[in-house]
């Protein structure tokens, strides 16, 4: 079982080592100058912008994230179905009816999201 997994873990180890080495290298090799305040400021194409306190971020991004989760689960449910669909067809249309009901309900969800203009990016 773990024969399949161990190489992946070894690969992660290799990547981490590589990344750490590179950053370490730049840290050692790189010039060490005293950071000037201007340099410290977040880069704004050169203009030294004032930094007002609370940045009002548009919150609409989270809605896509939520919808992503819900539709991702739909996809996850489809995978096992896809594997078995071909073989269970031999035993009648039952497997088909199941997925039709499932997909109808969820496409209605998508349709609702569409009509409710939840994904509008004004």
């Amino acid at each position: 079982m773990s024969e399949q997994l161990v190489p992946v873990l070894v690969l992660t180890a290799v990547v981490i080592v590589f990344a750490a080495a590179m950053i370490g290298l730049t840290f050692l090799a790189g010039p060490k100058r005293k950071p000037t305040p201007e340099k410290q400021l977040p880069y704004e194409c050169g203009i030294v912008g004032k930094e007002h306190e609370t940045t009002r971020f548009p919150v609409k991004f989270y809605l896509t994230a939520i919808l992503f989760i819900l539709f991702d689960i739909e996809v996850i449910f489809l995978y096992p179905w896809a594997l078995v669909y071909g073989d269970l067809l031999k035993f009648g249309p039952f497997i088909l009816v199941e997925i039709i009901v499932f997909m109808l309900v969820l496409t209605f969800g998508l349709f609702y999201v569409w009509k409710a203009r939840a994904l509008e990016w004004d």
Binding site: V6, T26, G30, C45, F61, L110, L119
Partner: protein, 384 residues
């Protein structure tokens, strides 16, 4: 990884080797990225350093190492350093599952040219790909720059939206191959284009048995989804130079910046490899199955590698592996070139068009594709 220490070492070396190869192809791609479009736009591109500018890559790499280690004041120290790693890691891990070529069996060992032959190959790739979002978000947020933050949010929501479309489009393919393991998918795509129609076998001599001919719509959807997933040009809004400077990695310099690029290009290589495996027969030649290739090399393989003194079957298996590796590299190279080619032809989407494309066209079309395949398999009883 095998039980004996020897096997473990060999495997680790293999893994490291494959990783290094992938990492080294990134500068190559960058080079192609600069030379190719230059060629298209009738200009030269980097040609100073080394022949045709090839050494330019090495120069850049070394330059990155000597950059000053610089951290903006308002940045989150730990996360700022971890962000590049977080983007590179998923990109590298996804490549683990892709079968590069047929396994070699010399001196009694079978040696897989694939980092990890997982029986859940495909969704393993999707799983690890979905972890990529963390790198971007971490980078955007930890650098303390609100434009970077905005870029990160945009990039991640774009990636998220297209992940569903990609997932759904793949379902069609899965229904056909009925397995997750990529190796098995490739074995399914050997020989001629054949399937069962109403129970009777149908074979078309002039077409290879590739997935693209079974699932053309899935291929198109998958392609566009991968473009969006890797933030390649039509969809590279987050780092749109015009408005958001460099998007989520504005504050990064030095090798950390390079790592972001490595992550992006790594992801691109994996996507190209995935397209070839899923739709274009992976490392297999169009009409010839690896068995036939072995037979061919058994007859005249001796001429090439006779000097090594290995037994005939070993030589044959080495040669078939090499041929298949070459085939695989060719196909993937083509698709990589396609990526770069598209970058310099299509204009950038506006953000809401991009999101609409994701949710309102790709997703519905993949549902249609799903319905189509289900219906065909049910009514026509097409079974691969």
């Amino acid at each position: 990884m095998g039980t004996t220490w020897l096997e473990i070492i060999i495997n680790t070396v293999k893994i490291a080797a494959i990783f290094v190869i992938v990492v080294s192809t990134v500068p190559l791609l960058v080079w192609v990225e600069r030379r190719g479009p230059a060629f298209m736009q009738n200009r030269l591109g980097p040609n100073r350093v080394g022949p045709l500018g090839l050494l330019q890559l090495a120069a850049d790499a070394i330059k990155f190492i000597f950059k000053e280690e610089f951290i903006p004041t308002k940045a989150e120290k730990i996360l700022y350093f971890m962000a590049p790693g977080l983007t590179l890691l998923p990109a590298a891990l996804t490549f683990a599952a892709i079968p590069l070529s047929t396994p070699i069996n010399i001196l009694g060992y079978t040696f897989k040219l694939q980092i990890a032959d997982l029986n859940i190959g495909l969704i393993y790739i999707f799983a690890v790909a979905s972890l990529g979002v963390y790198g971007i978000l971490a980078a955007g947020w930890s650098s303390g720059n609100k434009y970077a933050m905005l870029g990160a949010l945009r990039a991640s929501s774009q990636m998220i939206s297209y992940e569903i479309a990609m997932g759904l489009s793949v379902v069609g393919v899965l229904m056909m191959y009925q397995t997750f393991s990529l190796n098995q998918m490739i074995t399914e795509q050997f020989g001629y284009f054949s399937f069962l129609w109403q129970g009777s076998a149908v074979e078309l001599k002039f077409l290879p048995n590739w997935g693209v001919f079974f699932q053309p719509l899935a291929f198109i959807l998958f392609l566009t989804a991968t473009f969006a997933e890797t933030n390649r040009l039509p969809f590279d809004l987050p780092e749109g130079e015009a408005e958001l400077v460099a998007g989520f990695h504005t504050e990064y310099g030095g090798f950390k910046f390079n790592m972001f690029f490595m992550g992006e290009y790594g992801h691109m290589i994996t996507s190209a490899a995935l397209i070839t495996t899923l739709f274009f027969g992976g490392y297999a030649l169009p009409f010839i199955s690896p068995e036939q290739v072995r037979e061919f090399w058994i007859q005249n393989g001796h001429t090439l590698l006779g000097f090594t003194g290995l037994s005939m079957p070993d030589i044959a298996s080495v040669l078939t592996t090499i041929t298949h590796l070459v085939v695989f590299l060719a196909k993937t190279g083509f698709w990589l070139f396609f990526f770069i080619w598209v970058r310099w032809t299509l204009p950038r989407f506006r953000y809401d068009q991009l999101m609409d494309l994701g949710w309102k066209t790709l997703l519905p079309w993949s549902l249609v594709n799903l319905a189509l395949t289900t219906a065909l398999m049910y009514f026509a009883r097409i079974v691969k």
